[in-house]
Amino acid sequence: MKKKLLIVDDSSVSRMMIRGRVTGLQPDWEVIEAANGDQAVAMVGAEHPDYITMDVNMPGMSGFEAVEKIREIDQKTKIVILTANIQVSSRERAEQLAVHFVQKPATLAAVQLAIDYFLAAA
């Protein structure tokens, strides 16, 4: 079955970069987008993505808060925090939430790291 990736980022440029790179590496994946945490939570309920890349610093709900909300309704989706906030505290928060952490910029190498995590056996 076709895998579905949800990109969550308030920056349309970042979404464009991530989408472009994912599409190049995994042309069979369906890619959908959300511009904030609220949208992301709603889309997880409606679209049931297999994978999510999640920015942290967004208007309204932060990426970490969005992950907590998502986990209330979905425990299976693999999530990668993809952020410029590379403070130790941010990495620790990702660890507490049992999600993977990849630092921006969203280069091909960074996106590949996220995909490697998604495709790794659970």
Partner: protein, 201 residues
């Protein structure tokens, strides 16, 4: 802020590490090596910074502003001459996206470049001083350097200025990072630096 020579040296070392992280992020974006100058840290007035930028013919600047709060509150500004903004956009998204798409996204691209660079520096400072910052969303502003820094208020007040020059083989870019700190935050930064120096001894 009244930092001793040792304190200023420690601050330079902390920022140097952060700028190194920012340089790494830039080189990942550019796909080539980025040459970075050693950051020049000074306590300067907004007027002095404006004068320096004017002297370089960069009185009109493009700035990315981002607030960071925690035990220390600061407003960080990445400023660069306005004619370099398109080069930064190209650096951000590379050549794989069509030009018309780029111009539509110029502001957002600049915001994202600023977000990555400012967060690289601030995250490094946070980790080395064992503090935590919460960042606001990056805002892009265009205008005279003095106006962008809010020169109307306290033109001669001293602020912490970190000047870096960066160059990439294909592009010459020059940027200023400026951190605006209130009095309480300046005092807290002094204390944190003193603790950092003690931990090194």
């Amino acid at each position: 802020m009244k930092l001793s020579a040792l304190g200023l040296d420690a601050l330079a070392e902390i920022f140097n590490h952060g700028v190194g992280q920012a340089g790494l992020a830039l080189s990942e974006l550019a796909g080539e090596e980025v040459q970075l100058s050693v950051p020049k840290i000074e306590e300067l007035s907004k007027r002095a910074i404006t004068d320096q930028m004017d002297a370089r013919g960069a009185n009109r600047v493009c700035a990315v502003r981002q607030g960071f709060s925690g035990v220390i509150n600061t407003e960080a500004l990445l400023m660069f001459p306005v004619d370099q903004s398109l080069q930064l956009v190209q650096l951000m998204v590379g050549n794989e996206f069509p030009l018309e798409q780029l111009s539509e996204m110029e502001q957002e691209s600049l915001a994202e470049v600023g977000n990555i660079l400012l967060n690289s520096v601030v995250s490094s400072v946070a980790d080395m001083l064992h503090i935590e910052f919460e960042g606001t969303l990056p805002q892009v502003e265009l205008g005279l350097a003095g106006d962008v820094m809010g020169a109307g208020e306290g033109l001669d007040d001293l602020i912490l200025s970190l000047q870096i020059n960066f160059s990439i083989a294909s592009r010459q870019l020059q940027g200023y990072l400026v951190f605006l700190l209130d009095v309480a935050s300046s005092e807290m930064l002094e204390k944190k630096i003193a603790t950092f120096i003690e931990s090194m001894a």
